[in-house]
Amino acid sequence: MEGNMNLTLKVWRQKNANTEGNFETYDVTGISEDMSFLEMFDVLNERLINDGKEPIAFDHDCREGICGMCSMYINGSPHGPKRGVTTCQLHMRSFQSGETITVEPWRASAFPVVKDLVVNRSSFDRIIAAGGFVSVNTGNAQDANALPIPKENADDAFAAAACIGCGACVAACKNASAMLFTSAKISQLSLLPQGQAERLIRAEKMVAQMDAEGFGACTNTGACEAECPKEISLENIARMNREYFGAVVSSKG
């Protein structure tokens, strides 16, 4: 797939977590505007390999916006300039030929760089492991309507569950705060009957883990909501605050 877009890429290159990184500049020619941002990187990497150079490491998996692996900070925005899309869904037609594009990894002390544009997001896994689960045996699928759930709650829980855990909220936040992620995970469970059993300990444990991982506090700037590829709402953060303070004053632990 050849095209007529010529771009200058400034890409963060870093060998591993223990070395200092720096920007490398690449001229990428003949790019089609129908390529995704990651396909453009594939083209660049093939050329680098053909030239006997080290290809640029970047995270990717499903390439259809549902896995949450891609994580490029493009021209000052996580997942690039378009709202509501991941990097893999960002097409080169969103850029102008001749443009210089700066690509950086997510920057947060809780997301250390593994290599180039790849960061270690296992801190998110540990927040989930601290309380983002249901330990009651749910058994086989229930008969329809055996568990009455108001439509509004089901919709809100589903909207929160749309979080793919990519970390764009942390990348966008001036405090590198993980509140939008953590609140989405708390919300999806607290809104459903299955999540009630551990409701009083969940928020406390997940927030404690979030703090321990070195994420910042919330300034309510709303940058996370604006940059989230799944458009997770700030209402979840308010719900997390309610869940947390409710748990703090009423839990027995």
Binding site: E104, A172, A238, Y244
Partner: protein
């Protein structure tokens, strides 16, 4: 650590402290603005002086003053602790940062708060120290209204006060609605009201405050 201190020092607990102290400072602003606006009656400061004397002599108001300073101090210290902790969460900065995803004043609450603090030091020195720790006013040598007129005859003082009011306006523009979000108050019925009321409050109250030194300097208040 007890469960109280443990949870109040968590990231969410610190935000709760910011919200509660912030909203109590907002409540103070209403009283402060209302009483000072008495100068606009333009009766030679009679109404204003009477209101000021009531505030100075009422036992409950004086007791609340301790609460006010405790809240103010807590708001400042907690804000500085949050600012310092948050600034360490991204050791390697971005080379390019898009600024379209949030307002500049929501990202600059620490800076606006610091500007307010600098203004507040001068402001307390002008009026609070004079009326509480000298007998300048209590001896009847001068009224608080005369003190106000004297203070605001200097242009640089008026400029500092107006800049202080502009900082207050932007601080409130974000802080008012942000406090409700931190308290978990986000609801389709009330949040639009909180946001528009907060915006109105953030514009009107500092505007009334700023009008005082300006009006006195220009000689509108006799």
């Amino acid at each position: 650590m007890s469960w109280v201190t443990k949870n109040l020092s968590s990231s969410l607990g610190r935000k709760l402290i910011m919200a509660v102290t912030g909203l109590s400072l907002v409540a103070f602003l209403v009283v402060h603005c209302g009483i000072n606006a008495c100068i606009f009656v333009n009766d030679g400061g009679e109404t204003f002086n009477a209101a000021a004397e009531f505030m100075a002599k009422n036992f409950f108001i004086r007791a609340a003053e301790f609460g006010l300073f405790a809240g103010l101090l807590l708001h400042i210290i907690d804000g500085l602790v949050l600012w310092s902790a948050n600034s360490k969460k991204r050791p390697v900065k971005y080379a390019v940062v898009s600024k379209t995803n949030s307002t500049w004043y929501s990202r600059s609450m620490g800076l606006l708060g610091t500007l307010l603090l600098i203004f507040l030091v001068l402001h307390l020195k002008h009026f609070w120290v004079v009326s509480r720790f000298t007998d300048h006013i209590t001896s009847g040598e001068e009224t608080l209204f005369q003190e106000m007129k004297e203070t605001f005859q200097y242009l640089w003082v008026v400029i500092v006060y107006v800049v202080g009011c502009i900082s207050l306006s932007y601080h409130l523009l974000h802080g008012f609605q942000s406090a409700f979000q931190s308290l978990g108050w986000n609801h389709p019925k009330y949040t639009p009201f909180v946001k528009s009321f907060g915006a109105g409050f953030a514009i009107i109250v500092p505007l009334v405050f700023a009008a005082m030194p300006v009006a006195i300097y220009l000689g509108f208040i006799q």
